[in-house]
């Protein structure tokens, strides 16, 4: 069964550094999403992406965040200057058209 993959599974970075989290959505999917889950808290929507542009974003998704689909397979989330509070599990998801989102296994980001 096709699945969403994410790399790396874990990333440790220093505060102020840039990080890029990578996702490979299911190949024929058209809509892409990023979510985050701070330890012990709920999963929060960050951004949705369709047709090479952001379609929706939450208030969490400020100027420090950006997303990109640099080629036909990858979907990336960049955090320009990481803060301690960016430490979280980041999930990527994709869907073909409507309805069921398929989630990746997540990247655990730790900012020191």
């Amino acid at each position: 069964e096709p699945e969403v993959t994410q790399t790396p599974s874990h990333q440790v970075t220093q505060m102020g550094q840039e990080v890029i989290l990578r996702c490979v959505p299911i190949s024929n999917h058209l809509y892409f999403y990023w979510y985050r889950q701070i330890l012990g808290q709920k999963v929060e929507f960050l951004v949705s992406f369709y047709n090479n542009e952001i379609s929706e974003k939450s208030e969490i998704f400020d100027d420090q965040f950006s997303v990109e689909r640099p080629d036909g397979s990858n979907f990336t989330l960049k955090i320009r200057s990481t803060k301690l509070e960016d430490s979280a599990m980041y999930f990527c998801a994709s869907i073909l058209a409507e309805e069921t989102q398929y989630f990746g296994p997540g990247t655990r980001l730790l900012v020191l």
Binding site: K42, F45, F91, E99, T100, Q101, F103, G106
Partner: protein, 114 residues
């Protein structure tokens, strides 16, 4: 803004017992409703969804949920749980009316004891 309340943070239950995980949401418009499951060290997986039609929705692994519009609830049930059902369960209404983007509750940890 969408508000989701999962009334129980943790639900311990014995194997083969029935279970109900409660969810209430607040929305001034009709929204789609989802339940997701997160097994230990894994990503989120859709259990079931309500888009329209019958208010009783059946999902994977023997789970079902009932949409109650008047009570704005979408409780999840299973008549007989297994050890393997131990996981975190998230109720997730759509972000807005007509949206398939889930807005997650805080989750309920289902712990199944032998």
């Amino acid at each position: 803004a969408q508000s989701v309340t999962q009334l129980d943070s943790q639900v311990p239950v014995f194997e083969e017992a029935p279970v109900e995980l409660r969810c209430n949401y607040s929305s001034s418009v009709s929204v789609y409703l989802f339940w997701y499951v997160q097994y230990p060290n894994q990503g989120l997986q859709l259990l079931l969804k309500y888009l329209s039609g019958s208010t009783l929705v059946k999902g994977i692994n023997g789970f079902e949920a009932e949409f109650n519009k008047s009570q704005t609830s979408f409780h999840l049930r299973k008549p007989s749980v297994h050890i393997s059902d131990t996981a975190e369960y998230f109720c997730a209404p759509g972000l807005t009316g007509g949206s398939y983007i889930p807005t997650f509750g805080r989750g309920t940890s289902l712990i199944v004891h032998p």
